[in-house]
């Protein structure tokens, strides 16, 4: 389950002016993503850092492992970045998700947006996160201490069912 990634599962980057999306096996750097969206035009930068928690429903989690369909996830992240940038008039957007094993307490996702003013940056940043959790083709395996891992879903799972906001899939991480 947590074996070395094959070549095809290595991360990737998609970029266009003021937009950067990335999937990577490397540690995430908050400063790097902030620097990427900073601009003299933007008075506000909002950063979201999602870190892995050490319990799920009071069971100890040893680590999380993320898997992705990289080319499709990058396309999805790029379209999310474009949508929120245009909708909230953002200056720049960057979304970076980590893949592979992520030890407890480390960042699995960073989202940074910049805007001329703070309201747009807050809203744009939140929407970028919610859309990413809903749509990006990334899967999280929770490995429990002394137990088999469980693949999580950010929604309840069954097709056509209403997403339960308090559902267990939403409680873990971020």
């Amino acid at each position: 389950m947590a074996s070395e990634p094959a070549d095809s599962e290595k991360g990737g980057v998609r970029e266009e002016p003021n937009i950067h999306v990335e999937l990577t096996h490397a540690h995430l750097s908050a400063q790097t993503i902030i620097d990427r969206v900073k601009s003299p035009k933007a008075g506000a930068v909002v950063l979201f850092a999602g870190t892995t928690r050490d319990t799920f429903a009071s069971k100890p989690v040893s680590q999380l492992v993320y898997q992705s369909y990289v080319p499709l996830a990058l396309t999805t992240l790029l379209s999310i970045a474009r949508e929120v940038k245009s909708k909230h008039d953002l200056t720049a957007v960057s979304i970076v998700h980590r893949l592979g094993e992520v030890p407890i307490g480390e960042e699995s996702i960073l989202i940074a947006v910049s805007a001329p003013h703070r309201q747009a940056a807050w809203r744009g940043g939140e929407e970028a996160l919610e859309e990413t959790k809903k749509r990006a083709e990334v899967w999280k395996l929770e490995e429990f201490v002394g137990e088999k891992g469980v693949w999580r879903a950010n929604r309840d799972g069954a097709v056509g069912e209403k997403v339960d906001e308090t559902g267990e899939g939403n409680r873990q991480s971020s």
Partner: protein, 98 residues
């Protein structure tokens, strides 16, 4: 996940299994014989991996060459998309990023 078409014999398509799908198939990808109607894919896979339909496929989406496709098992053979040799198909279970 780009598997170059030169590796795939000309009568086969590639199918990718992620997350819960790969737990049941015990593999991340394989090649299957083309052509297959999308409407028949779930039945074909459930025959090969009993229980896959109920446990995973019923809540999953399908992509063909990185595009989401409709899976309507009520469609007849003459309707809907046909998976061709060289195509890359993926089973997309409910996602869980963040």
């Amino acid at each position: 996940m780009s598997i170059s078409s030169s590796d795939t014999p000309s009568t086969y398509f590639t199918i990718l299994y992620f997350a819960a799908a790969s737990d049941i198939t015990k593999k991340r990808s394989e090649t299957l014989t083309a052509p297959v109607h999308v409407s028949q894919l779930f039945t074909l896979l459930d025959k090969k991996y009993p229980g896959l339909k109920d446990k995973v496929l019923c809540s999953s989406a399908i992509t063909v060459n990185l595009e989401y496709v409709d899976v309507d098992e009520s469609m007849s053979d003459e309707e809907g998309l046909v998976i061709k040799a060289g195509d890359e198909v993926a089973i997309i279970p409910p996602v869980s990023s963040g």
